[in-house]
Each structure stands twice: as structure tokens, then as C-alpha cells.
Amino acid sequence: MGAEQAWLLAAIPAGMFVVLALFGRKLPRGGDYLGILAIGSSFVLSFFVLADLLGTEEKLGPITKAIDWTQIGNFQLRMGTFVDPITVVMFGVVTTVALMVNIFSVGYMKGEPRYWWFFAVLQLFAASMLLLVMADNLLLLYISWELVGVCSFLLIGFYWEKRSATEAAKKAFITTRIGDVGLLIGIILLWREAGTFNIQEIIQHAEEGHFSSAYLFVSMCFIFLGAMGKSAQAPFHVWLPDAMEGPTPVSALIHAATMVVAGVYLTARLLPVFEVADGTTLIITIVGLVTAVLTAFMAFAQTDIKKVLAYSTVGQLGFMFVALGSGNPSAAMFHLMTHAFFKALLFLGSGSVIIATHHNQDMSKLGGMWKKLPITGTTFLIGSAALAGVVPLAGFWSKDEVLHSANSEWGPWALAIAGGAAVMTAFYTTRLFIRTFMGEPRDAHVYEQTKEPGWAMTGPLVFLAFLAVVSGLVVFHGVGKVLGFPGGITEFVFLEEAEKYSIDWGLAALSLLISATGIGIGAWMYWGNSTRRSTSLATSYPRAYDALCNKFYFDEAYQWCIDRGVLGFSFLVSWFDRYIVNDTGVDGSAQVTGFSGYTLKFLQSGKLPNYAMGIALGVVALAFAGILVRG
């Protein structure tokens, strides 16, 4: 088993999806153990792939395997897998988080209707996501891109009895669809010039300068549109908070750790081409910065714990894009990995709180949960600290890398904006933690009923907390050497040449200061879980508070566009359909036939002289025509 069999990682969950979809209803316990088995085997196999990759001589990979798929005219289409360090990092992230989520779901989804279907779609999702990260050509990537979108739709709308869930699923699908159209256009544009879908060949084509620069700029902008849609960057961010309607394990898996990072993965994979197209990297960085700041503001006013985490996810994705725009894919993938672990931890922790309080997600009713939920609370604290960037947890190292790359590529202004977003991140994370777990409980009734969930849910929390602590340390040379890749992650994933990791002490101190500031402000404002200071702040600036509460009115603006634009256009189309196609085309042709039949029947008078007249007139007419034609 080596990297050439990497396709097995996707095939096993895909096969299990088919089994569960067909038979899951009848299996005992809904077949959840089968799902865990499938993901578990992918998890184990990913280590084999890693070992195989590390075993290749000096340059790390890439290991490919492709088969001839079809031939259309002169064009030969080959589909296959492509394994390189980025792929392996994604494998690790996806299989680990998917495994934890599958185990967690055993406890979370107990007693839910359609239990078996949940696990089936989880398998399908894992298969499509793994296929996405190992696709060697853009066509296969697009297919799996759409598949993960479908799984997201199915899972967000899992509780389809609730109207809000179906609306959220629709919104997610349509918003990402708009991005996907851009992605498809970009793929087609690239294919037209490069003549191939294969990613490595496109990169080579671009680096040799065969694309005209304006053409490449436009194509890469379209591709980035797809990444923006899937990764919920502004202005496409509106679907992710609504996607919290889905069950919490889904939020943890899809909307924190794996699907939303597909955009990051795509950009990282095509980063050499982005580097060739001038200006695209600046666009990427600015989109990331704007998104990070915007969503950090929006997270201030949210009271639903899952929504706060959702906005935080979008903001952290913005950070990853900043790193990519600064030309540092190792920082982006590193932050992707650490973020996946601690964000999944946070989401699963909130899921634990939700189950424990019998589906109460509103922070205004929670508080003081630490005494009742010790394991959840401790792991949630670790996750929050990692998110806020407290040393030596994982978030500190990766966020430091992101800030470092932003500073070195773009200068202090980028650093300042990113740093500001980081301060806000630390602030609202602190707010979340304090209001949920500390101080006095706000709703006694809810407090009485809470109790710690079983090991199925707390086990993954502990494991993910462990990862959140240690995964940041892979940046060091020593740790990397032990695990098999000397030089740490910066020499594992790199763009042009490996960068030796060195600690920039000034920047490290700045990061610590940022985290401390955020945490400090949060602690000061919400000390003892009192909202006195925050409410007074809110009443002093009512309009700003309203803007924050309504998420800067993005949704209202989009709805207005839909009402005016889409419905107006559809009115036009329906008018055309009713009057032109139906009345004139369909009814009209029938009526013309009927009318002409009605008038023509009077020719049949039954009288012989009339018929004779017809003959005679015909002959005369023909004779005239003949004379006219022949002269």
C-alpha cells in the first residue's frame, strides 16, 4: 500500500456510502459502526501514504497515478491521483476530523430520525472531499467540488421538517453555486489556452509564460471566485452562519474543518499560477483581510454559540487566504491544519453543551456551565485559547506564521489589519467562553438539567484537545525530524524553496500582545459573566449595534437584489412563456388549423358545376403561370 493506491482512501467511504444508503435502514444501530470503520480505515491508510511520500528521494513526491479516461477528437482526458505534501496534510486533516465527527455523532445523533442516512451522507462527504484533494486535474476536482456541495446541502437540510433548515440549505447551495459558475468559467478558460485539465501541466504552461497576462488574470479571478464561494469569503459569507441549522457534527466537519477549506486548498494548489498572474495575489490578500475584519465585527453581537463559531471560521479562512496571497502556502496549510483541529474541537464542544442543555444554543440562557460540564469546559477552554493564539497552543504558531508572511510580503499595513482582526478574534472568543461557562447561570431551569454527555462525545473532545495543543509544534525542526520530515512543516510544504523556520522574536511578542489585548478586553467587559458593561456600550451606540446585529444588512441587500432583479426578470420570462410560447405558438397554431379547416370546408359544396369550375380555374391559372415563366 503506497501513495499510488491513494484512491482507496476515497473509494472505501464511497463504497460504504452505497452500502449504507441501500441497507442502512435495516442494519442494527443504523450502521454507524460501518461508517466509523470506513473512515477509520481511511485514517489508517493515510499514514501509509505519508510514509510512502516521505520515502521518496530528496524531493518530496509528487506521486501520481492516472488512467486514460476518454478521448474526444484530439483531446485525451486522463484522470488520476496526485499526492504531494499539500495532499498529505489535507488527508491527515480530513480523515482525523471525519473520524472524530463520526464517533461524536454516535452520541449526538442518538434517537434522531434518519440516523442511518446521516452516517451514509457523512461517508459520501468524506469520499468526495478526499477525492477533491487528490485530484490531478481540474475536471475531477470540479466534480468532487460539486459533490461536497451536494453533501453539504443534504446535511444542512437534515432536519428538513424545519423551514429554516431547508431555507438555509438552499441558500448555501445557491451562494456556492454562484462561485462554482465562476470556477467552471475559469477552468474552461484555462483549458482553452493550455489544452489540458491537468493541474501540473497548467502550472507548467503558466510558468513558461504561454498565457497572455490579461487572459490569465481574468481566468484566475474566475477561479478565485469559486474559492471565495466555497470558503464563504465576503461577499459570499452569508451562507455559512445560516448553515448552522444543520446538526452540530456537520458544522464541525463540513463548515469548520473540511469543505470550507476546499477554497483554500484550490488556491494553494494553483498558487504557482496565481503568482504568475500579476495582481491576483493582492486581490486574494485583500479579500482575506476584509473578510477577517468584517466577520470579526459581526461575531461581536451574536448570541448563538454556533453562529459565533461560524463567523470565527470565516474570519480564520480569511487569514488563510492572507497567507496564500502573501505567497506562503506552508503558513496557509499550517493554519488550515491547526484551525481544523481547534475549530472542530470548539464545534463539538458546543455540540456537547447543546446536547447537555437539551438543545439550548442561546448564550443569554447559558452560564456557569463549567461546574456541570467539566470535560467539555476544559477542552473548550483549550480550543478557545488556541483560537485566541495563546502560546504554546497550536493557534499561536500558525497565526504567527500568517502574520509574518503578511508583513514580509505586503508590509506593515497588512500586518496592522490582520493584527486588528486577531485582536477582535481573541475578544469574541473570550466573550463566548465567559458567557457560556463562567459566572452565574442565567437560566436556572436550564442549569438544573445539564449533565455531562457520554464518552462517545467526550472522547473525541479530548483527542482533539490534545491535537490542538501539540499540532503547532510541527513547525519545529526537531519535532518534524521525529515524525519523519526534517525541517518542520515549512520545509514540508513550500512554494519554490523550503524556508528554514526561524522565530521572529519581535513578531512573536507582537502576537502575544495581540492575544493578550483581546483576551483582556473580553475579560474586562464580561467579568463574572455580567453583561452590564456590554449592554451600556450597546445602548450608547445604538445604530452601530443594530448594524452589527443585522450583520451589516448583507442578507437584506441580497434579498432586495433578488426581489428586484431575479423576480423582475422572471416576470418577463413568464410573460414570454404565457403569451408568446403558449398563446401564440401552441394555441395559435391549433386555432389556425381549426379556422382554416372551417373555412375551407365550404369548398365541398357537393355541386358538380362548382368542382368543374375549380378544374377550369386551375387550368387557367397554370396556363397563365406557364406563360409567365416561359415567356
Partner: protein, 167 residues
């Protein structure tokens, strides 16, 4: 010269008789005019030196056909009321238009065609030997078929016109 004048007289007679056939108010008068017209055409055949055809024309048309027509006229009269009945149908004007149009077309065609230049004013005399030779040798098959046709017509007419049982 004289034959030309004679020809013109006969031509006028034919036209007048034909006009009488189609325009006369009395049906019997139309039948009489028909005899005249057919006879005139027979005379034309004499001018064209096919005397055999003229003979055939007189015999068959003048003898058999007109007698048959008169017979049918007498058998299908409903009773002589004495009043002149309407002889023209409702589409008479259109018929006139059609007739005039047809006439103009035919005359135009006749005038506008260039005939081969070995044509003279005089028709080529045709002898009866030529006719018989052509009729029985070259066109023998149609001749025999025509006789079968006459037999069929005979039998058909009998069947059509006989009285059924109980009529």
C-alpha cells in the same frame, strides 16, 4: 381563292352553331345547333383532305351521338310546362370569365409560337391508304383496345340504364 371564302363561311357557321349550343334558351334548339356544329367540323376535315374522318364524323356524331342525345333529352323531361325554364346555372359570369381567359391564352399561344418554316399555306394531302396503314400497323394495339372499350361501354350502359325489378 374560292376555297378560302368557303372556308371562312364554314368557320363562321361553326362558331355560330357552337354559340347556339351554349347560349340557346331551349334545350332542343341546343341539340339541333350541336348537329350543325359537328357537321361544320366535318366539313373542316374535308378541307384538311382527310375525307375518311369527315365521313366518320358525320356518321358517328351526326348519326349516333346526336340521336342518342335527343333520346336522352326526351326521356328526361319532366313534363312540358311551356314556360322557359332557366338554363343557366348560378356561376355563369365566372364561366364567361374562364372561357374568355382560356380563349386568350390559347390564341396567344397560337400566335406567339414560331412554326417550322417549311410550313406552307396548303395542307399536305393525306390519302386514305396512309391512314389505314398507320391505323392497322403502327397503332394496331390501340385499335384493338378501342374495340374492347366499346364493348365495355356497351355492357356498362345496359347495366346502368336498365330497369331494376320492382321499379
Amino acid at each position: 381563292m374560292a376555297t378560302e371564302v368557303l372556308w371562312w363561311i364554314f368557320a363562321t357557321a361553326i362558331v355560330a352553331a357552337s354559340a347556339g349550343v351554349v347560349l340557346s334558351r331551349s334545350i332542343i334548339h341546343s341539340a339541333i345547333f350541336l348537329i350543325g356544329s359537328l357537321a361544320g367540323v366535318g366539313a373542316m376535315y374535308v378541307f384538311l383532305t382527310v375525307e375518311f374522318l369527315a365521313l366518320v364524323q358525320f356518321l358517328i356524331y351526326g348519326g349516333a351521338v346526336t340521336v342518342l342525345i335527343l333520346l336522352a333529352l326526351m326521356l328526361t323531361r319532366m313534363g312540358v310546362s311551356g314556360l322557359p325554364e332557366k338554363v343557366n346555372g348560378p356561376q355563369a359570369p365566372f364561366a364567361a370569365f374562364v372561357g374568355v381567359a382560356l380563349l386568350s391564352i390559347l390564341v396567344y399561344a397560337a400566335a406567339a409560337t414560331t412554326w417550322p418554316n417549311n410550313i406552307s399555306d396548303k395542307p399536305f394531302p393525306i390519302s386514305i391508304e396512309t391512314i389505314s396503314e398507320k391505323l392497322f400497323v403502327d397503332y394496331g394495339a390501340p385499335f384493338v383496345i378501342a374495340s374492347v372499350l366499346l364493348l365495355v361501354a356497351l355492357v356498362g350502359a345496359i347495366i346502368l340504364a336498365r330497369q331494376e325489378e320492382g321499379e
